[in-house]
Chain length 162, copies 2
């Protein structure tokens, strides 16, 4: 029987991911880019994120290889940058859709969701599912954790001083 | 053609959700509860979240109906509380697994993941998928946004002063 207390969380992928995207505006910026909004001023217009915060969040996402900056130049203006998702960034799509699903179900209220996402090919609505590799739908109650290849025993000496 | 700039983000489910869980330690606390860690001191031992921060994050999650507090009492000790997921909280499972998936792929490194989640019934590994209601797997490139029932046109007068 797996007991989480026996194991270290130092290399937990949830903790590591939240070190990067664990800030409200970071995910909002990702939402913008997934919605086709690539330019700083357009993000400012849509999100009202303070200028310096937006600048910091974009820099963090570029530093981690989630967004890449590409230059563009409007006639008569100085060169500026657009932000696009890398493959690593595109891999965050299930996170964004899962967050959207939960908000739609629990927070958007009686008027319903402001945006629907449809499958280009068939038009059906898009959502996330938790499934196993054999294709079964999985709820938290059907899920069993076990130590993975990178599991590290918790350092009891350090964590629980006598 | 949907142009995100035409639409308000005020009631966006991603933004609304991130107002609640948009903080690194909040998601780490949820990870703990999904892993069966229900008690304050056990969460402290595993996560090293500062006491006051942990206390605040738990209170926020209880306030939003994601966790519920239930009393328990060890022999000879004063009454304390355990934290359990409500149905609303259990609905965050796809978010947690999607975050875990991404961290596993991009951050845990050569040694691999510290925890694997398996399907109780068949033993296969568990992950999050983005699918449409017709069952097709969907990538960001196959996804088309459109205004939903709660869509609100952006107030151009307010957002773009002359």
């Amino acid at each position: 029987m797996y007991n989480a207390l026996d194991w270290s969380t130092d290399n937990c992928p949830v903790g590591l991911t939240m070190e990067i995207i664990g800030e409200r505006w970071t995910v909002v910026v990702l939402r913008e880019v997934f919605n086709g909004i690539r330019r700083f001023d357009d993000m400012r217009t849509r999100t009202h994120v303070p200028r310096q915060v937006l600048s910091n969040r974009l820099a963090t996402l570029v530093d981690h290889g989630i967004l890449r900056r590409t230059p563009y130049q409007e006639p008569g203006a100085r060169q500026r940058f657009e932000y696009r998702l890398t493959e690593k960034g595109l891999d965050l799509y299930p996170v964004l859709i899962a967050i959207r699903d939960w908000g739609d179900k629990h927070l958007t209220g009686a008027e319903g969701s402001p945006v629907e996402v449809t499958h280009r090919e068939c038009g059906a609505l898009v959502h996330t599912e938790v499934r196993c590799a054999a294709g079964h739908a999985v709820t938290p109650r059907d899920a069993v954790p076990r130590p993975g290849p990178g599991a590290q025993r918790r350092n009891l000496g350090r964590d629980q001083p006598a």
